[in-house]
């Protein structure tokens, strides 16, 4: 046996393994990044065509033509290979995005389950929470609310908890899919925000300010309500009222130069 005691052999093997694991993880991360980039490009093109599609049939054709098989199997493979790491979480986020884009509800649900089930501690839950409400498809409201409740309960990160609180309150309060139950849940969440973040900074304003604004939206700015009238000056200095446009379909766009 000489100098090669079992302990030294084991230590050497562990050392070699520790070199191998980061290299493999790096390969997965690189593969993932390439997929994310390609998906962003394909998605942009898809949305461009989707906007021009005039009928549900045309839109369905577009969805069928999307190169889904270039993404989903590869992303799932990365998620499996990198299981338990943020690389896997990002991969599942990628699968979620495919599901959202192509209205594949089962795929969306599966990815969401993996995300909140296996990655609740991750800082990526902040990204997930945003994606669930920002530019999210209308049909995803219920699974999104479930996921936000889980994130809220499980995340160890205070800022992610605050974001989830805010997003969940607005989601269940505003979306008619949740009915009166949703509005009651929203009110509970808003009361909690006032209690825990009343005068403190809460996603860029005080908790009290956020709660006041959210309540206003939930009671006055719902789908089905007449939009509150306003008077304003336009870019030429001319005064006008929103109600001047009765008789026309109006798309109101709150925006800014960035």
């Amino acid at each position: 046996m000489g100098n090669r005691s079992p302990f030294r052999v084991a230590a050497t093997l562990l050392f070699l393994l520790s070199l191998a694991v980061p290299a493999a993880a790096q390969a997965e991360a690189q593969r993932l990044q390439a997929l994310e980039q390609r998906f962003a490009e394909e998605r942009a093109q898809f949305l461009e065509f989707a906007r021009q599609a005039r009928t549900p049939e045309e839109r369905a054709e577009l969805a069928a033509a999307f190169p889904r098989e270039e993404f989903v199997p590869a992303l799932e493979a990365i998620a499996t290979a990198a299981r338990g790491t943020d690389v896997a979480a990002r991969a599942w986020l990628g699968v979620l995005r495919v599901g959202a884009l192509l209205d594949e509800r089962e795929l969306f649900a599966r990815a969401l389950e993996r995300l909140v089930g296996e990655h609740a501690d991750s800082t990526l839950m902040g990204n997930l929470a945003l994606e669930l409400v920002y530019g999210a498809p209308a049909w995803s409201a219920r699974p999104a609310a479930e996921a936000l409740r889980t994130i809220l309960a499980k995340t160890p990160h205070a800022d992610i908890r605050a974001g989830a609180l805010a997003e969940l309150a607005l989601l269940v309060g505003l979306d008619d899919a949740f009915g009166a139950e949703g509005r009651a849940e929203a009110e509970q969440l808003l009361a909690r925000i006032e209690r825990e973040h009343g005068t403190a900074d809460f996603i860029g304003m005080t908790g009290a300010e956020f709660a006041a604004g959210a309540r206003h939206e939930i009671t006055q700015l719902r789908v089905g309500q007449v939009a509150p009238d306003f008077e304003a000056s336009d870019e030429t200095g001319t005064r006008f009222q929103l109600s001047d446009y009765r008789g026309q379909v109006v798309l109101l766009d709150f925006w800014g130069f960035v």
């Binding site: 700015l221 789908v223 379909v249 766009d253 925006w255 800014g256 130069f257």
Partner: protein, 108 residues
């Protein structure tokens, strides 16, 4: 500004329809020389300016707007029919078409 090409295409396509695209320009980003910048970007549609005296930020506050893009789609009776936080993607145009069809049917 990312959605600007889509907005322009929308306004152009629906020029002859009972449709109005109405911007509410807030303080996000730099509001300086907004008139010149609107022109520079080829923004031909009306924008309510929620900037400066006496109304600074009033509209954004009244509509509880915390970030943008934030869209509200109103029908011909002024009723809120849909709202989006973020890019509406493929949902926007079908929603507008449906309301235009409604308006046409009501006019008959």
């Amino acid at each position: 500004m990312g959605l600007l090409p889509q907005k322009k295409a929308l306004v152009e396509r629906l020029e002859d329809e009972p449709f109005r695209f109405l911007g509410v320009l807030g303080r996000e980003g730099d509001p300086a020389d907004f008139r010149a910048r609107l022109k520079q970007h080829g923004i031909t549609w009306r924008n309510a300016l929620d900037l400066g005296e006496p109304a600074d930020g009033v509209l954004w506050a009244r509509w509880a707007v915390r970030g943008f893009p934030q869209f509200y789609l109103l029908d011909a009776s002024g009723v809120i029919r849909q709202r989006w936080f973020g890019d509406p993607g493929a949902e926007l145009e079908p929603a507008i078409e449906a309301l235009l069809a409604e308006a046409r049917a009501a006019a008959k």
